[in-house]
């Protein structure tokens, strides 16, 4: 697994629960306190060890931890870059949903080695969608749920999201768009603001 995911978990734990919690998770998982480098590659077992340790230290269900991670990835100021890259997917939330299928290819343009979950979107009509998520981390669908919830907020869309278990080896997420323009949403300039 590319260190990017591990690094994301590390930053999520540090930014949300504090440095002390990260140190406890690292110790429990047998990882050095410095943690991970986003651009290096680590064994998949390390990722699993960190997630298991985080679940134990936080005493919360794995699903909740993963969903919070997904929300963090697009709503925390420290990871503004990812929100921006996702917003390039489309002008509105529905267009964004459709762009998810291109996400692995888009990601590979910048990071050819990244192990991205396969994403398939089925438009079921009546503003209902079914997203299949095929990744190496069990529960990656919950990360997607948290991420989609935060992206809907970002676009100002009102959606219902539900993790619908597994089917054919993929985690299934049901999405119902109640109102595409429910709130103002956050502004998205194509250009990065000058520092």
């Amino acid at each position: 697994m590319q260190g990017l995911f591990n690094r994301a978990v590390q930053c999520f734990l540090r930014d949300t629960y504090g440095h002390g919690l990260w140190l406890a998770v690292a110790r429990r998982a047998g990882v050095g306190p410095e943690g991970f480098e986003a651009m290096l590659t680590y064994d998949n077992a390390v990722t699993e060890a960190v997630l298991t340790a985080a679940v134990a230290e936080l005493a919360r269900p794995r699903e909740t931890v993963l969903e919070d991670l997904g929300t963090y990835l697009v709503s925390h100021p420290n990871v503004e870059g990812l929100r921006r890259l996702l917003r390039f997917g489309g002008a509105g939330f529905v267009e964004f949903l459709h762009s998810l299928e291109d996400l692995p290819d888009r990601t590979h343009l910048a990071l050819p080695d990244l192990d991205m979950p396969g994403l398939d979107l089925e438009d079921q009509g009546n503003s209902r969608f079914r997203l299949s998520c095929r990744g190496v981390i069990p529960g990656v669908g919950y990360v997607a749920v948290g991420l989609l919830r935060a992206m809907a907020d970002d676009y100002g869309a009102l959606v219902l999201l539900e993790h619908d278990g597994e089917a054919d080896g993929a985690e299934v997420i049901l999405i119902e768009l109640l109102d595409g323009a429910y709130a103002a949403g956050r502004r998205f300039d194509l250009a990065v603001r000058a520092h």
Binding site: E37, M39, L109, A191, V192
Partner: protein, 338 residues
């Protein structure tokens, strides 16, 4: 909104044109702008485009010259290079086709400065045709920048780790012998344990001449050869360290027999005095050695012993090089010049 098909020709209304080509301009035969795409109008900061002369709105950069109707209607193989007169920092490529009524139709696209133009004018996804890959390009620029930043930071951290690791290292990179740090640790350990040991401080003679006349590659080769000699002439339990450019120290645990140490020193001098072949040339050096043993001291001290051996070494150097001298003892014959 819509298009009309007739006899293989297509005509578009302004709304369809705006959607297909948001950066277009249509001018009549006199050069007056009759239609302008919405993104182009946005770039003009609210100045009206309609009714103005094309030459007032756009300036020609490639080919250079005034932007007139004859220039526009000339057959151009390449796209024209133009800038907005209201913001000359934003450059475009413009493809021009003549219209049936003597006017011209221009479709513009951003050049390589697109990211800057997008930033200056706060353009959004809606300002580009849905088929335009400009947004993908902006995405790539941003993703690439993020990855490069991350890699730059990673390299900085790795560089720091490398420097730290080198400081921790005990091996001399060039010769594979131990380094100064390893030597200090070894001597401290022997003194702490109360062990007796012999010490040689070795300085190469004529090494600078080899470096100056045959180059650094030859010098490096000589240093590696000397390292080989030191390894061969000492026991596995002895420690040979390179402590400076052409300076070496050897520690001999449990060896305080000065006669034996002087014999070893003699052998080392004899070996390094043999010509060392490098790329068809012979490098000729020798060595001067200062020797001391821990039993000469009531309470041996590493710095003191090194300093004494160093003094003996410089007595040798003053006396003509190529010899070994025991601290406090008389010079014995070395092998220089043979």
């Amino acid at each position: 909104m819509g298009a009309r098909l007739k006899d293989g020709s297509v005509s578009f209304g302004p709304l369809a044109l705006a959607r297909l080509m948001p950066l277009h301009l249509a001018v009549n035969a006199t050069g007056q702008i009759v239609n302008a795409g919405p993104t182009l109008q946005k770039l003009m900061n609210g100045q009206a485009a309609l009714g103005r002369n094309i030459g007032d709105v756009l300036a020609l950069r490639r080919p250079p010259g005034p932007l007139t109707m004859p220039v526009l209607l000339a057959q151009h193989d390449l796209a024209l290079g133009v800038v907005l007169t209201s913001d000359p920092t934003v450059s475009f490529r413009a493809l021009v086709v003549p219209t049936l009524d003597g006017g011209a139709f221009l479709n513009l696209s951003f050049g390589i400065g697109v990211a800057e133009a997008v930033r200056r004018h706060a353009l959004t996804v809606e300002d580009f045709a849905a088929t335009d890959l400009t947004v993908e390009m902006l995405y790539l620029v941003e993703a690439k920048t993020a990855v490069m930043d991350e890699l730059r930071n990673l390299n900085r951290r790795l560089q720091g780790a490398k420097v730290a690791a080198e400081e921790q290292a005990l091996t001399d990179q060039l010769t594979g012998l131990r380094n100064r740090r390893a030597l200090d640790l070894q001597m401290k350990a022997l003194i702490r344990l109360g062990a007796t040991f012999g010490l040689m401080h070795i300085d190469l003679d004529f090494f600078k001449q080899v470096n100056d006349t045959l180059g650094h590659a030859a010098g490096d080769h000589v240093l590696r050869q000397v390292a080989r000699v030191l390894t061969q002439e000492t026991r596995a339990t002895d420690m040979a360290a390179r402590v400076g450019g052409d300076e070496f120290v050897v520690v001999f645990p449990n060896l305080s027999d000065t006669a034996q140490l002087m014999r070893i020193a003699d052998r080392i001098i004899a070996s390094v005095t043999e010509p060392i072949a490098f790329e068809g040339r012979d490098c000729r050096i020798s060595a001067s050695i200062g020797v001391t043993v821990s039993t000469l001291y009531d309470s041996p001290d590493a710095d003191r012993m090194l300093s004494d051996a160093d003094s003996a070494l410089y007595d040798v150097k003053r006396d003509g090089r190529g010899k070994a001298l025991l601290v406090g003892g008389p010079l014995i014959e070395g092998l220089v010049g043979r």
